[in-house]
Subunit: 338 residues, 2 copies
């Protein structure tokens, strides 16, 4: 192993890009050089990395010459323009956009769930959708133990999933409400403060949104099983950080709540937070800033022979995005793939 | 019919009691005399009714002498102490507490759904739980058309469902956050502003909360069908007024989304708000203050042969509580039961 890697972060000034840089530092990722990239609008600003300020450069094809690992968090447009170009110039790309996730030659990976898929990579690895990651982290041990037939999931998603502008919008709306001022909406079609919005991403012809269909298709791809049925309803709530999910799982075999609790307690990256008698359960305010996916409210479904109800909360910018991307890079190093 | 009824409102200074008095006025309910009742703590304060201020009296057994209709919104303790006593003294009691809902001799009624159950009343009629009312309003036409096997529901419930103190708590927490002050929690075990709480009411031995079990048991009783399976996860969100619900329905027969939309458009008290292309869907900020139960995001479940996904929002203090209680009284008058 060299003393370190040249790591580019595309979208370095956005919510996920900033979090990637923070996590590279926190985990002591072997960075020989950090190259923060962004659009021309943000080029020239600086990011902090290991007590140094590094100037953000405008992304160009040449930016990727000599780069070992490129973490893409600049949205679909940056990934479309520079994703495969970066691969062509020798970088391994870990892409947080949804653009390539369902392409056959692109592994879609959660390192704790399907690390083996990294071995067939063609230079570009996709990071799954935030709401999918935390759900599949909890489904995987159940799937391995007793099989899964069908999942019905409703989400309670934080505004940071939309990006920094949405965080600013909720902050401004809360202050406007408190100050008695009129609340205006720009990022979302309606006010999000003191409201919930039953739409995340655009609608598709079947009436589900793209976010909802990501939870169906990505779950199947990551678990490698197209027979799993998923129905999702994805909802935005006025929370800054931390997506929550009410997950109803119909299993093939029987799994008691006690057995599920033990199984999940042993799952890597999952923490069981489940003591109703003491009002102990996962919440956004306690999951924010944490690496683990928190699961609680574990109970046997009274409406099915074989079923479980779960409440799952995770920091959507960490395990749902930046942390998972960095963990993919770590796993690739461990497997000798970088 | 006399020129009006002597109507008592128990818990007249609480969130639901106040709303009952407001709705009696708005609907021109034939009130000959309004008698607002409360605990000793609130006795002596005044409520406004038809441009008159009426002094709130402390509830006692004698309060119900000569009362025709007593609307109870004083919680379980008031209903326990005075519910059947008021009946013994000649009043018809419509009780918003959960205390008597599952008792065999107490009809549990949504006037649009099961008005016939009023005919077998023994003086006390129970008003269903707020989250149950809005769900069953939408399930009923589907049930009648194609039958219902199983429902999986996740709720997004407003703080006003807890009462006036919880509304005040969210208001205070939002202002404290905006002002940079520490946020304290008294009504709920944790901060509700900018958070979600996966607990409503106390936990039961099977891991579900009482609120969740109400949605199971009350749905069966109102629809008169114990074969309907329901799994509920009830969640508190930082919204003042308006409960939202993501409802997944497994039907016996096939119902297309288009057919469901037509069916629901004709259902009394239900309004279809469903035009995804224009971002038209129900939300708490638009449902608050309205009488109708709003339904949108109507789509065929892709994970089942026969299933629907629905998003249902209603004003929890109106159709979920005070309005339904007043409508029960109206229906009883119409049926000659009072």
């Amino acid at each position: 192993m060299p003393c370190g890697y040249r790591v580019a972060v595309v979208g370095a000034t956005g919510a996920v890009g900033r979090k990637m840089i923070e996590i590279l530092m926190q985990r002591n990722f072997p960075v020989a050089e950090l190259v923060p990239l962004a659009t021309s609008r943000s080029a020239g600003t600086e990011v902090e990395f290991k007590d140094k300020c590094i100037k953000v450069e405008e992304t160009s094809k040449g930016s990727f010459d000599g780069i070992d690992i490129a973490l893409f968090a600049g949205g679909g447009s940056a990934s479309r323009a520079f994703g495969w170009e970066a691969v062509a110039r020798g970088a391994v790309v870990i892409d947080n956009s949804s653009l390539f996730r369902m392409e056959e030659n692109v592994p879609l990976v959660i390192p704790e769930v399907n690390p083996q898929d990294l071995k067939r990579h063609k230079g570009l690895i996709a990071n799954p959708n935030c709401s999918t990651v935390q759900m599949v982290m909890v489904l995987k041990p159940i799937y391995d133990a007793v099989g899964i037939k069908r999942v019905v999931v409703s989400t309670y998603q934080a505004v940071s999933g939309t990006g920094k502008l949405a965080v600013d919008e909720l902050e401004r709306q809360v202050k406007d409400y408190a100050g008695g001022c009129t609340i205006s909406a720009e990022v979302y079609p309606y006010q999000i403060a003191l409201n919930v919005l039953p739409q995340i991403d655009a609608f598709t012809p079947n009436g589900y949104t793209r976010e909802e269909m990501k939870m169906v298709n990505e779950t199947r791809k990551i678990l490698g099983d197209n027979s799993i049925d998923v129905s999702a309803t994805t909802i935005r709530v006025p929370v800054f950080y931390g997506h929550s999910e009410a997950i109803n799982v119909q299993t093939e075999g029987k799994l008691t709540a006690a057995a599920a609790r033990m199984l999940l307690a042993e799952a890597p990256g999952v923490r069981v937070v489940d003591n109703p008698d003491e009002c102990i359960y996962p919440m956004p305010i306690t999951a924010a800033g944490k690496d683990d996916v928190m699961v609680g409210r574990i109970r046997e479904d009274i409406s099915l022979q074989n079923g479980l109800d779960l409440w799952v909360v995770a920091d959507n910018l960490r395990k749902g995005a930046a942390l998972n991307a960095v963990q993919i890079a770590e796993k690739m190093i461990e497997l000798g793939l970088i």
